[in-house]
Symmetry: C2
Subunit: 202 residues, 2 copies
Protein backbone atom coordinates (compact mmCIF):
# COMPACT_ATOMS: atom_id res chain seq x y z
CA UNK A 1 0.00 0.00 0.00
CA UNK A 2 1.22 3.50 -0.84
CA UNK A 3 1.11 6.17 1.85
CA UNK A 4 1.01 9.90 1.43
CA UNK A 5 4.42 11.37 1.91
CA UNK A 6 6.10 8.14 0.89
CA UNK A 7 9.18 8.16 -1.25
CA UNK A 8 12.82 7.21 -1.21
CA UNK A 9 13.36 8.50 2.30
CA UNK A 10 10.22 7.08 3.88
CA UNK A 11 10.99 5.31 7.14
CA UNK A 12 14.55 6.64 7.14
CA UNK A 13 16.07 9.52 8.98
CA UNK A 14 16.76 10.07 12.65
CA UNK A 15 13.90 8.24 14.37
CA UNK A 16 14.57 5.05 12.38
CA UNK A 17 18.34 5.34 12.81
CA UNK A 18 17.92 5.72 16.55
CA UNK A 19 15.61 2.76 16.69
CA UNK A 20 18.07 0.72 14.64
CA UNK A 21 20.92 1.54 17.01
CA UNK A 22 18.80 0.62 20.03
CA UNK A 23 17.80 -2.69 18.47
CA UNK A 24 21.41 -3.43 17.51
CA UNK A 25 22.58 -2.67 21.04
CA UNK A 26 19.88 -4.86 22.59
CA UNK A 27 20.74 -7.75 20.27
CA UNK A 28 24.45 -7.36 21.00
CA UNK A 29 23.74 -7.19 24.74
CA UNK A 30 21.65 -10.37 24.64
CA UNK A 31 24.46 -12.21 22.85
CA UNK A 32 27.22 -10.82 25.00
CA UNK A 33 25.42 -11.56 28.29
CA UNK A 34 24.55 -15.08 27.12
CA UNK A 35 28.10 -15.86 26.00
CA UNK A 36 30.12 -14.25 28.79
CA UNK A 37 27.69 -14.12 31.72
CA UNK A 38 26.51 -11.05 33.60
CA UNK A 39 29.76 -10.24 35.41
CA UNK A 40 32.15 -10.67 32.50
CA UNK A 41 30.09 -8.80 29.91
CA UNK A 42 30.94 -5.08 29.93
CA UNK A 43 29.37 -1.99 28.40
CA UNK A 44 32.53 -1.69 26.30
CA UNK A 45 32.34 -5.28 24.99
CA UNK A 46 28.65 -4.87 24.17
CA UNK A 47 29.33 -1.58 22.38
CA UNK A 48 32.09 -3.25 20.37
CA UNK A 49 29.79 -6.05 19.32
CA UNK A 50 27.05 -3.58 18.35
CA UNK A 51 29.54 -1.39 16.47
CA UNK A 52 28.67 1.75 18.43
CA UNK A 53 30.41 3.96 20.98
CA UNK A 54 30.12 2.88 24.64
CA UNK A 55 28.88 6.37 25.48
CA UNK A 56 25.83 5.71 23.31
CA UNK A 57 24.96 2.65 25.43
CA UNK A 58 25.05 4.72 28.60
CA UNK A 59 23.07 7.46 26.88
CA UNK A 60 20.31 5.08 25.75
CA UNK A 61 20.26 2.55 28.58
CA UNK A 62 22.02 3.91 31.68
CA UNK A 63 23.98 1.32 33.69
CA UNK A 64 24.84 -2.27 32.82
CA UNK A 65 22.09 -3.36 35.22
CA UNK A 66 19.62 -1.12 33.36
CA UNK A 67 20.68 -2.54 30.00
CA UNK A 68 20.41 -6.10 31.31
CA UNK A 69 16.94 -5.45 32.72
CA UNK A 70 15.89 -4.01 29.35
CA UNK A 71 17.38 -7.00 27.52
CA UNK A 72 15.41 -9.55 29.52
CA UNK A 73 12.26 -7.41 29.71
CA UNK A 74 12.40 -7.31 33.53
CA UNK A 75 8.97 -6.33 34.88
CA UNK A 76 10.36 -5.09 38.18
CA UNK A 77 13.71 -3.80 39.39
CA UNK A 78 14.40 -5.09 42.89
CA UNK A 79 18.00 -3.90 42.51
CA UNK A 80 16.78 -0.30 42.28
CA UNK A 81 14.21 -0.70 45.06
CA UNK A 82 16.35 -2.44 47.66
CA UNK A 83 18.55 0.59 48.56
CA UNK A 84 15.37 2.50 49.48
CA UNK A 85 14.10 -0.41 51.60
CA UNK A 86 17.49 -0.84 53.28
CA UNK A 87 17.52 2.87 54.10
CA UNK A 88 14.12 2.58 55.81
CA UNK A 89 13.17 1.02 59.15
CA UNK A 90 15.39 -2.04 59.56
CA UNK A 91 12.87 -3.49 62.00
CA UNK A 92 10.41 -3.70 59.09
CA UNK A 93 12.86 -4.71 56.36
CA UNK A 94 11.56 -8.25 55.80
CA UNK A 95 7.97 -7.12 55.65
CA UNK A 96 8.86 -4.23 53.32
CA UNK A 97 10.65 -6.53 50.90
CA UNK A 98 7.79 -9.06 50.79
CA UNK A 99 5.23 -6.26 50.39
CA UNK A 100 7.21 -4.67 47.54
CA UNK A 101 7.54 -7.92 45.59
CA UNK A 102 3.93 -9.05 46.08
CA UNK A 103 2.46 -5.63 45.36
CA UNK A 104 4.27 -5.58 42.04
CA UNK A 105 3.23 -9.15 41.18
CA UNK A 106 -0.40 -8.24 41.87
CA UNK A 107 -0.27 -6.05 38.74
CA UNK A 108 -1.35 -8.39 35.90
CA UNK A 109 1.24 -7.30 33.30
CA UNK A 110 4.02 -7.54 35.86
CA UNK A 111 2.82 -10.96 36.99
CA UNK A 112 2.57 -12.32 33.44
CA UNK A 113 6.05 -11.15 32.56
CA UNK A 114 7.43 -12.15 35.97
CA UNK A 115 6.14 -15.70 35.60
CA UNK A 116 7.79 -16.01 32.19
CA UNK A 117 11.07 -14.82 33.69
CA UNK A 118 10.84 -17.23 36.65
CA UNK A 119 10.10 -20.11 34.28
CA UNK A 120 12.99 -19.14 32.04
CA UNK A 121 15.48 -18.52 34.84
CA UNK A 122 14.85 -21.98 36.29
CA UNK A 123 13.84 -24.01 33.23
CA UNK A 124 16.42 -22.83 30.73
CA UNK A 125 19.97 -24.09 31.19
CA UNK A 126 21.51 -21.07 29.48
CA UNK A 127 19.38 -18.49 31.28
CA UNK A 128 19.96 -19.87 34.77
CA UNK A 129 23.58 -18.75 35.35
CA UNK A 130 22.87 -15.42 33.67
CA UNK A 131 19.95 -14.56 35.95
CA UNK A 132 21.80 -15.94 38.97
CA UNK A 133 24.78 -13.72 38.10
CA UNK A 134 22.59 -10.63 37.90
CA UNK A 135 20.81 -11.43 41.19
CA UNK A 136 24.09 -12.11 42.99
CA UNK A 137 25.82 -8.99 41.79
CA UNK A 138 23.06 -6.39 41.78
CA UNK A 139 20.72 -7.58 44.52
CA UNK A 140 21.92 -10.19 47.03
CA UNK A 141 25.53 -8.96 47.08
CA UNK A 142 24.36 -5.45 47.93
CA UNK A 143 22.02 -6.68 50.63
CA UNK A 144 24.84 -8.76 52.12
CA UNK A 145 27.17 -5.76 52.20
CA UNK A 146 24.51 -3.65 53.90
CA UNK A 147 23.53 -6.14 56.60
CA UNK A 148 27.15 -7.12 57.28
CA UNK A 149 28.61 -9.98 59.30
CA UNK A 150 30.57 -13.12 58.39
CA UNK A 151 27.45 -14.97 57.31
CA UNK A 152 25.81 -12.05 55.47
CA UNK A 153 26.08 -13.73 52.05
CA UNK A 154 24.29 -16.84 53.33
CA UNK A 155 21.61 -14.85 55.14
CA UNK A 156 20.89 -12.73 52.05
CA UNK A 157 20.62 -15.90 49.95
CA UNK A 158 18.28 -17.53 52.50
CA UNK A 159 16.03 -14.47 52.35
CA UNK A 160 16.16 -14.78 48.57
CA UNK A 161 15.26 -18.48 48.82
CA UNK A 162 12.06 -17.66 50.71
CA UNK A 163 11.07 -14.91 48.27
CA UNK A 164 11.80 -17.12 45.27
CA UNK A 165 9.83 -20.01 46.79
CA UNK A 166 6.91 -17.72 47.58
CA UNK A 167 6.73 -16.39 44.02
CA UNK A 168 7.06 -19.84 42.46
CA UNK A 169 4.49 -21.60 44.64
CA UNK A 170 2.01 -18.70 44.42
CA UNK A 171 2.29 -17.63 40.80
CA UNK A 172 3.84 -20.54 38.89
CA UNK A 173 2.77 -23.74 40.67
CA UNK A 174 -0.33 -21.96 42.05
CA UNK A 175 -0.54 -24.29 45.04
CA UNK A 176 -3.84 -24.35 46.97
CA UNK A 177 -3.87 -21.97 49.92
CA UNK A 178 -0.92 -19.88 48.84
CA UNK A 179 -2.25 -19.01 45.36
CA UNK A 180 -5.45 -17.47 46.73
CA UNK A 181 -4.23 -15.96 50.01
CA UNK A 182 -4.54 -12.16 50.22
CA UNK A 183 -1.18 -10.47 49.71
CA UNK A 184 -1.48 -8.82 53.15
CA UNK A 185 -1.76 -12.21 54.80
CA UNK A 186 1.41 -13.38 53.07
CA UNK A 187 3.25 -10.20 54.06
CA UNK A 188 2.22 -10.87 57.67
CA UNK A 189 3.40 -14.50 57.61
CA UNK A 190 6.46 -14.39 55.36
CA UNK A 191 7.76 -10.92 56.32
CA UNK A 192 9.03 -12.08 59.75
CA UNK A 193 10.87 -15.01 58.13
CA UNK A 194 12.75 -12.72 55.74
CA UNK A 195 13.33 -10.32 58.63
CA UNK A 196 14.82 -13.09 60.80
CA UNK A 197 17.16 -14.20 58.01
CA UNK A 198 18.37 -10.66 57.34
CA UNK A 199 18.54 -8.87 60.66
CA UNK A 200 17.96 -11.26 63.57
CA UNK A 201 20.59 -11.07 66.31
CA UNK A 202 23.05 -13.91 65.93
CA UNK B 1 24.54 -59.58 14.01
CA UNK B 2 23.52 -63.18 14.70
CA UNK B 3 23.52 -64.46 18.25
CA UNK B 4 23.72 -68.02 19.53
CA UNK B 5 20.27 -69.24 20.42
CA UNK B 6 18.65 -66.81 18.01
CA UNK B 7 15.63 -67.87 15.97
CA UNK B 8 11.97 -67.11 15.52
CA UNK B 9 11.30 -66.94 19.24
CA UNK B 10 14.38 -64.92 20.22
CA UNK B 11 13.51 -61.96 22.37
CA UNK B 12 9.98 -63.26 22.92
CA UNK B 13 8.49 -65.09 25.86
CA UNK B 14 7.62 -63.95 29.36
CA UNK B 15 10.50 -61.57 30.22
CA UNK B 16 10.01 -59.60 27.00
CA UNK B 17 6.22 -59.70 27.26
CA UNK B 18 6.43 -58.43 30.80
CA UNK B 19 8.80 -55.67 29.79
CA UNK B 20 6.48 -54.74 26.92
CA UNK B 21 3.50 -54.49 29.23
CA UNK B 22 5.45 -52.32 31.68
CA UNK B 23 6.61 -50.01 28.91
CA UNK B 24 3.09 -49.80 27.50
CA UNK B 25 1.67 -48.95 30.93
CA UNK B 26 4.31 -46.29 31.55
CA UNK B 27 3.66 -44.71 28.15
CA UNK B 28 -0.11 -44.79 28.74
CA UNK B 29 0.35 -43.30 32.22
CA UNK B 30 2.49 -40.46 30.89
CA UNK B 31 -0.16 -39.61 28.28
CA UNK B 32 -3.08 -39.97 30.66
CA UNK B 33 -1.47 -37.84 33.41
CA UNK B 34 -0.48 -35.18 30.87
CA UNK B 35 -3.94 -35.01 29.31
CA UNK B 36 -6.14 -35.28 32.41
CA UNK B 37 -3.91 -34.10 35.24
CA UNK B 38 -2.91 -36.01 38.34
CA UNK B 39 -6.27 -36.00 40.11
CA UNK B 40 -8.49 -36.91 37.14
CA UNK B 41 -6.28 -39.69 35.78
CA UNK B 42 -7.20 -43.05 37.35
CA UNK B 43 -5.60 -46.47 37.42
CA UNK B 44 -8.62 -47.68 35.45
CA UNK B 45 -8.28 -45.02 32.74
CA UNK B 46 -4.55 -45.69 32.41
CA UNK B 47 -5.17 -49.45 32.18
CA UNK B 48 -7.76 -48.85 29.47
CA UNK B 49 -5.36 -46.75 27.45
CA UNK B 50 -2.61 -49.36 27.83
CA UNK B 51 -5.03 -52.17 26.94
CA UNK B 52 -4.32 -54.15 30.12
CA UNK B 53 -6.25 -55.04 33.25
CA UNK B 54 -6.17 -52.49 36.09
CA UNK B 55 -5.05 -55.26 38.45
CA UNK B 56 -1.85 -55.56 36.41
CA UNK B 57 -1.07 -51.87 37.03
CA UNK B 58 -1.37 -52.35 40.78
CA UNK B 59 0.67 -55.55 40.56
CA UNK B 60 3.51 -53.87 38.68
CA UNK B 61 3.42 -50.36 40.12
CA UNK B 62 1.45 -50.26 43.39
CA UNK B 63 -0.59 -47.09 43.95
CA UNK B 64 -1.35 -44.24 41.56
CA UNK B 65 1.28 -42.18 43.42
CA UNK B 66 3.83 -44.96 42.87
CA UNK B 67 3.00 -45.16 39.18
CA UNK B 68 3.24 -41.38 38.81
CA UNK B 69 6.61 -41.32 40.61
CA UNK B 70 7.85 -44.05 38.26
CA UNK B 71 6.52 -42.18 35.23
CA UNK B 72 8.41 -38.98 36.03
CA UNK B 73 11.50 -40.80 37.35
CA UNK B 74 11.12 -39.23 40.81
CA UNK B 75 14.45 -39.47 42.65
CA UNK B 76 12.83 -39.18 46.08
CA UNK B 77 9.40 -39.84 47.51
CA UNK B 78 8.50 -37.16 50.05
CA UNK B 79 4.90 -38.44 49.99
CA UNK B 80 6.09 -41.76 51.45
CA UNK B 81 8.48 -40.17 53.93
CA UNK B 82 6.20 -37.50 55.37
CA UNK B 83 3.92 -39.86 57.37
CA UNK B 84 7.00 -41.13 59.24
CA UNK B 85 8.18 -37.57 59.92
CA UNK B 86 4.69 -36.50 61.03
CA UNK B 87 4.55 -39.49 63.38
CA UNK B 88 7.84 -38.43 65.01
CA UNK B 89 8.61 -35.55 67.37
CA UNK B 90 6.41 -32.65 66.27
CA UNK B 91 8.79 -30.26 68.00
CA UNK B 92 11.43 -31.29 65.45
CA UNK B 93 9.18 -31.61 62.42
CA UNK B 94 10.56 -28.64 60.44
CA UNK B 95 14.14 -29.68 61.04
CA UNK B 96 13.34 -33.32 60.15
CA UNK B 97 11.76 -32.31 56.85
CA UNK B 98 14.65 -30.05 55.84
CA UNK B 99 17.19 -32.71 56.87
CA UNK B 100 15.38 -35.40 54.87
CA UNK B 101 15.23 -33.33 51.69
CA UNK B 102 18.80 -32.04 51.87
CA UNK B 103 20.28 -35.44 52.82
CA UNK B 104 18.67 -36.95 49.74
CA UNK B 105 19.82 -34.10 47.47
CA UNK B 106 23.39 -34.55 48.72
CA UNK B 107 23.41 -37.90 46.86
CA UNK B 108 24.71 -37.01 43.37
CA UNK B 109 22.28 -39.17 41.35
CA UNK B 110 19.34 -37.87 43.36
CA UNK B 111 20.52 -34.29 42.97
CA UNK B 112 21.03 -34.60 39.21
CA UNK B 113 17.59 -36.07 38.69
CA UNK B 114 16.00 -33.73 41.23
CA UNK B 115 17.36 -30.66 39.44
CA UNK B 116 15.95 -31.91 36.13
CA UNK B 117 12.55 -32.36 37.78
CA UNK B 118 12.62 -28.91 39.40
CA UNK B 119 13.57 -27.34 36.06
CA UNK B 120 10.82 -29.23 34.28
CA UNK B 121 8.14 -28.60 36.91
CA UNK B 122 8.74 -24.85 36.74
CA UNK B 123 9.96 -24.34 33.18
CA UNK B 124 7.53 -26.54 31.27
CA UNK B 125 3.98 -25.24 30.90
CA UNK B 126 2.49 -28.73 30.60
CA UNK B 127 4.47 -30.25 33.47
CA UNK B 128 3.69 -27.48 35.96
CA UNK B 129 0.02 -28.27 36.75
CA UNK B 130 0.79 -32.00 36.73
CA UNK B 131 3.53 -31.75 39.33
CA UNK B 132 1.52 -29.22 41.33
CA UNK B 133 -1.44 -31.62 41.33
CA UNK B 134 0.71 -34.46 42.63
CA UNK B 135 2.30 -32.29 45.34
CA UNK B 136 -1.08 -30.93 46.47
CA UNK B 137 -2.77 -34.29 46.62
CA UNK B 138 -0.06 -36.59 47.93
CA UNK B 139 2.11 -34.30 50.03
CA UNK B 140 0.80 -30.88 51.06
CA UNK B 141 -2.82 -32.00 51.43
CA UNK B 142 -1.76 -34.79 53.79
CA UNK B 143 0.43 -32.47 55.82
CA UNK B 144 -2.45 -29.97 56.07
CA UNK B 145 -4.83 -32.69 57.30
CA UNK B 146 -2.32 -33.79 59.92
CA UNK B 147 -1.47 -30.36 61.31
CA UNK B 148 -5.11 -29.25 61.28
CA UNK B 149 -6.65 -25.81 61.74
CA UNK B 150 -8.50 -23.41 59.43
CA UNK B 151 -5.30 -22.18 57.86
CA UNK B 152 -3.59 -25.58 57.57
CA UNK B 153 -3.60 -25.56 53.76
CA UNK B 154 -1.86 -22.18 53.66
CA UNK B 155 0.65 -23.16 56.34
CA UNK B 156 1.55 -26.39 54.54
CA UNK B 157 2.00 -24.45 51.27
CA UNK B 158 4.19 -21.84 53.01
CA UNK B 159 6.41 -24.62 54.36
CA UNK B 160 6.52 -25.98 50.81
CA UNK B 161 7.46 -22.55 49.50
CA UNK B 162 10.53 -22.41 51.75
CA UNK B 163 11.62 -25.94 50.83
CA UNK B 164 11.12 -25.27 47.12
CA UNK B 165 13.02 -21.99 47.35
CA UNK B 166 15.86 -23.65 49.25
CA UNK B 167 16.25 -26.40 46.65
CA UNK B 168 16.07 -23.97 43.73
CA UNK B 169 18.52 -21.39 45.08
CA UNK B 170 20.98 -24.06 46.30
CA UNK B 171 20.90 -26.62 43.49
CA UNK B 172 19.53 -24.85 40.41
CA UNK B 173 20.53 -21.18 40.69
CA UNK B 174 23.51 -22.13 42.90
CA UNK B 175 23.56 -18.72 44.57
CA UNK B 176 26.73 -17.78 46.48
CA UNK B 177 26.54 -18.64 50.17
CA UNK B 178 23.62 -21.03 49.93
CA UNK B 179 25.16 -23.32 47.28
CA UNK B 180 28.24 -24.05 49.36
CA UNK B 181 26.81 -24.01 52.90
CA UNK B 182 27.04 -27.34 54.76
CA UNK B 183 23.70 -29.13 54.82
CA UNK B 184 23.74 -29.11 58.66
CA UNK B 185 23.97 -25.34 58.68
CA UNK B 186 20.94 -25.08 56.41
CA UNK B 187 18.99 -27.53 58.57
CA UNK B 188 19.79 -25.35 61.58
CA UNK B 189 18.69 -22.13 59.88
CA UNK B 190 15.77 -23.25 57.71
CA UNK B 191 14.35 -25.96 60.00
CA UNK B 192 12.88 -23.46 62.48
CA UNK B 193 11.21 -21.55 59.65
CA UNK B 194 9.44 -24.67 58.38
CA UNK B 195 8.64 -25.57 61.99
CA UNK B 196 7.04 -22.18 62.64
CA UNK B 197 4.90 -22.42 59.50
CA UNK B 198 3.69 -25.90 60.35
CA UNK B 199 3.29 -26.07 64.11
CA UNK B 200 3.74 -22.64 65.70
CA UNK B 201 0.96 -21.67 68.10
CA UNK B 202 -1.47 -19.34 66.38
Amino acid sequence: MAHQGGGPSRGRGRPRGRSDARARILAAAAEEFAERGYDAATMRSIAGRAGVDAALLHHYFGTKADLFAETIGAPLRPDLEIPRLLAGDRGQLGESIVRFVLSRFEVPEVRTRGVVLLRTAIGNRLATPLLAGFLSRELLGRIATEIGGDDAELRAALAGSQIAGLLITRYVLQLPGIATAPADELVRRVGPVVQAYLVAPR
